[in-house]
C-alpha cells in the first residue's frame, strides 16, 4: 500500500477503519440481540410473559434481523446509543463522561513507557551482554510475565498499605495517578524496551555504525544521531501499538484495580448490572479509539518510511 499517494492512502485507511468499526458493531449487535433475550434481561425479575412480550414489541425485537440491525445501525450513526438502563441517561453520554479519565491515564502511562522503554532499550542495545543489558532484559521479561492487575495490586500493597505513601484508589488528586500509571508504564514500557533494544542492537552491528566509530565519534553522538534516526520508526510504531493494547483492554483491568473512574471501570459496573446499551457504547467507543490509533501508527510509519526512501 506504500506505493499509493498520500490522499489515496488516507482514503484506503479510512475505509479500512470504518469497515473494522462496522464489524465491531455487527459483532456487538449479534451478541447483544440475538443470543439471549434482551427483553427478558431488561425486564424486572417478576415480569409476566405478557409484559416481556410487550417490551419485546416496544423494542422492536419481533422484527426481522435485517430490520433490527438497520434500525440499530441507523441510530448508532445518529449518535443514539440507547438509554442506559442503570442511569436512565443516554448511554453515549455516560461513556463519554468516563472517557477523559481513561485518556489521561493511558496517555501519561504511554509517555513514561515510551520514554523509559526507549532510553533503556538504546542503552541496553548498545552494550549487549553487559550487566545493564542482562538485568534490564530479565526485568522486562518478568514484567511481561505477570498479570498487569496483579502488578497493580502489588503496588498498592507496597505503597498504599505498607508505606502509606499513596492513596489506594479513586481519582482524588494527582497522586492517585501515580500507581495506576506506573503499573501500565512498567508493563508496556517493558515491551517497548525489548523492541527498541533489539532494533538498536541490529543497527549497531551494521557497517555504518562501525564507520561512525572509525571517525572517532563518541558513543553519545553515534547513538543519538546515527542509531536514533534508524530506530525512530520502530520506536514510534511500537509506542503506537502499545497504546492500542492499552485501549484494547489492558488499561481497563488496571482501572478496576484502582477504581479509576474510566471506561474500564464503567464497563465492569455496566456488566454487573446487565446494562447493555452502556456496554455496547463503551466497546464501540473504545474500538473507535483503537482503530484511530492504528490508523495514526500506520500513517506515521508510512510518512517516515517515505521520507527515508525519498528519491
Amino acid at each position: 500500500m506504500n506505493h499509493l499517494s498520500l490522499p489515496s492512502f488516507l482514503l484506503a485507511r479510512l475505509r479500512d477503519g470504518l469497515v473494522v468499526l462496522f464489524l465491531v458493531t455487527v459483532v456487538i449487535f449479534v451478541l447483544g440481540h440475538m443470543l439471549g433475550d434482551p427483553a427478558a434481561l431488561m425486564s424486572p425479575v417478576d415480569a409476566s410473559e405478557q409484559e416481556i412480550a410487550h417490551l419485546r414489541h416496544q423494542l422492536g425485537l419481533d422484527r426481522s434481523f435485517a430490520e433490527q440491525f438497520a434500525s440499530y445501525f441507523g441510530s448508532l450513526v445518529r449518535g443514539d446509543f440507547g438509554q442506559s438502563l442503570w442511569q436512565d441517561r443516554p448511554a453515549l453520554t455516560v461513556v463519554l463522561e468516563a472517557l477523559p479519565a481513561t485518556v489521561l491515564l493511558t496517555l501519561v502511562a504511554l509517555v513514561f513507557a515510551g520514554l523509559g522503554g526507549s532510553l533503556l532499550g538504546i542503552l541496553a542495545g548498545a552494550r549487549p551482554e553487559s550487566a545493564l543489558d542482562r538485568a534490564a532484559n530479565f526485568l522486562s521479561i518478568t514484567a511481561l510475565s505477570v498479570p498487569n492487575f496483579w502488578l497493580g495490586l502489588l503496588l498498592i500493597v507496597i505503597f498504599a498499605v505498607k508505606l502509606r505513601m499513596l492513596p489506594t484508589s479513586g481519582f482524588s488528586s494527582w497522586q492517585s495517578l501515580i500507581m495506576p500509571a506506573s503499573a501500565l508504564a512498567i508493563i508496556h514500557g517493558a515491551r517497548v524496551f525489548q523492541l527498541v533494544r533489539s532494533a538498536t542492537f541490529e543497527e549497531m552491528a551494521k557497517p555504518y555504525a562501525l564507520v561512525a566509530r572509525s571517525k572517532g565519534l563518541p558513543e553519545r553522538l553515534i547513538l543519538g544521531k546515527h542509531i536514533l534516526r534508524n530506530t525512530a520508526v520502530t520506536m514510534l510504531t511500537t509506542v503506537g501499538w502499545e497504546y492500542v493494547r492499552m485501549m484494547g483492554g489492558a488499561a481497563f483491568a488496571i482501572e478496576v484495580v484502582f477504581a479509576w473512574p474510566g471506561i474500564g471501570q464503567l464497563m465492569i459496573h455496566a456488566a454487573s448490572r446487565q446494562d447493555f446499551p452502556v456496554l455496547q457504547a463503551a466497546v464501540i467507543i473504545a474500538g473507535a479509539f483503537v482503530i484511530v490509533t492504528n490508523g495514526i501508527v500506520d500513517l506515521l510509519y508510512r510518512t517516515l518510511d517515505m521520507r527515508v526512501r525519498a528519491a
Binding site: A126, R127, P128, E129, F201, M204, A205, K206, P207, Y208, L210, V211, A212, R213, S214, K215, G216, L217, P218, L221, K225, H226, R229, N230, V308, R309, A310, A311
Partner: protein
C-alpha cells in the same frame, strides 16, 4: 633516515569465540614511513583486515578481543591508549575507507552531514563552516554540484560516487595515515581505476601515508610502493612492489601471481588454483602456516616457524627455502 610514521611490532590479535581462540593476526611486524604506501595482500581469512582494524581497535560490540604487541604511531603506542584517547586518533590522524560504500554510509542521513560531522567534532567547526568545508571536500573528490547534492541521501548516488563520499569523509581532517580496506572490491571495474587514481592524487596533495588492503594485486600495484603478502595471520613476504611482482620469493606469492591472467600470456594457459582452503588458526600452530598447501614443503616447514630472510632492498620472505630460491632467481613464467 627519519623515524617511521607507523611501526608495528609483533602484533597479535586474538578473538575469543565459542569454538576456541582464533588467532587472526599472529605476530605481524612492519614499518611505514611518512607519505609511503604499503599494500597488504592476501585471501580472506589471512588477517589483512584485522591487522588494520587493530590499529584503531575497531571491533564489533560482541567481539572479545585480546591484542598484544606494539603499534607505534608517531611515537605513541596506540595499544596503550584508552578508548577516549583513541577517539582522537580515529578520523583525525588515522582514517579508514571501508569496502562497501552502500552499507558504510548511514542510509537516513544526508551525505554532506556525514562528511561535516567529523569536522564539527574533531576541528570544532560550527555548522556553516563545516558545511562549506564539506562541500569543498566533495568537490575535491570529484563530485559534481556539491551544494545541491549536500543534502541528498546515499541511495541517490551511484556506487562510485558513494565511495568518493567515503573518501571525502576519511580525508576531511587531513589524517596522516589512510587505511583503505578493499575500497574497490564492491565497485564496477570501470569505476575502480577512477577511485584508485583519486586515492593516488589525494595522497600526493595531502601528503598521507597509505595502507591498502586488497586481495587484488593489480589494485596494490596501482597505488603502493611496497607490498606485503599475508597468510594465516602472518607476513610471508614483503618488498618493493616491483620485487614482489617480478621476483617473488615465497611459494604463496608466486602462486598468487600465477592466478593473475596476463593479456600477453599464452591463450590456452591453464590457471593453477592453489590447492586446499585457507584455514582459520585456532589455538597453537606450528611451522609455516602455508605448509599444508605448499608444493615445496618439506619436514622442516611443517614443524618449525620459518625465519624471515632478508634479501636486501627491504625484500624479506619467511620461507625455509627462500635462500635457495633466491639464488635461482625465479621469475613468473
Amino acid at each position: 633516515m627519519s623515524s617511521p610514521l607507523l611501526e608495528i611490532k609483533n602484533l597479535c590479535t586474538q578473538f575469543h569465540t565459542a569454538n576456541g581462540i582464533l588467532r587472526a593476526v599472529d605476530g605481524v611486524s612492519f614499518v611505514l614511513h611518512d607519505r609511503a604506501a604499503i599494500g597488504v595482500v592476501g585471501e580472506s581469512g589471512s588477517g589483512k583486515s584485522v591487522t588494520a582494524l587493530s590499529l584503531l581497535r575497531l571491533f564489533g560490540p560482541l567481539d572479545k578481543v585480546s591484542i598484544s604487541g606494539e603499534i607505534l604511531f608517531d611515537g605513541v603506542d596506540l595499544l596503550k591508549l584508552s578508548e577516549a584517547e583513541l577517539r582522537h586518533v580515529r578520523g583525525r590522524q588515522i582514517a579508514v575507507v571501508f569496502q562497501d560504500p552502500l552499507t558504510s554510509l548511514n542510509p537516513v542521513m544526508p551525505v554532506g552531514e556525514q562528511i561535516a560531522e567529523t569536522l564539527r567534532f574533531h576541528r570544532g567547526l560550527k555548522k556553516p563552516a563545516a558545511r562549506a568545508r564539506a562541500q569543498a571536500l566533495m568537490e575535491l573528490v570529484g563530485l559534481a554540484e556539491p551544494a545541491r547534492r549536500y543534502d541528498d541521501l546515499p541511495e541517490q548516488f551511484s556506487g562510485g560516487m558513494r565511495q568518493r563520499i567515503m573518501i571525502a569523509i576519511a580525508i576531511a581532517c587531513e589524517p596522516k595515515l589512510l587505511i583503505a580496506d578493499e575500497p574497490t572490491t564492491a565497485l564496477d571495474v570501470t569505476v575502480q581505476s577512477q577511485v584508485l587514481m583519486l586515492l593516488n592524487r589525494l595522497r600526493q596533495e595531502l601528503g598521507m601515508a597509505l595502507i591498502m588492503i586488497s586481495h587484488d594485486l593489480g589494485v596494490i600495484a596501482a597505488t603502493c610502493d611496497f607490498a606485503q603478502v599475508m597468510y594465516g595471520g602472518r607476513v610471508v613476504e614483503r618488498g618493493h612492489i616491483q620485487d614482489i611482482l617480478t621476483r617473488p620469493n615465497h611459494p604463496y606469492t608466486a602462486a598468487l601471481l600465477r592466478l593473475v591472467p596476463r593479456i600477453d600470456g599464452p591463450v590456452n594457459r591453464r590457471f593453477a588454483p592453489i590447492p586446499g582452503q585457507p584455514a582459520p588458526i585456532f589455538g597453537a600452530a606450528r611451522g609455516c602456516r602455508f605448509s599444508a598447501r605448499c608444493e615445496f614443503a618439506d619436514q622442516r616447514c611443517h614443524t618449525d616457524d620459518p625465519p624471515a630472510h632478508d634479501f636486501g632492498n627491504h625484500h624479506v620472505s619467511a620461507c625455509w627455502l627462500a635462500q635457495e630460491r633466491f639464488a635461482a632467481t625465479a621469475t613468473i613464467e
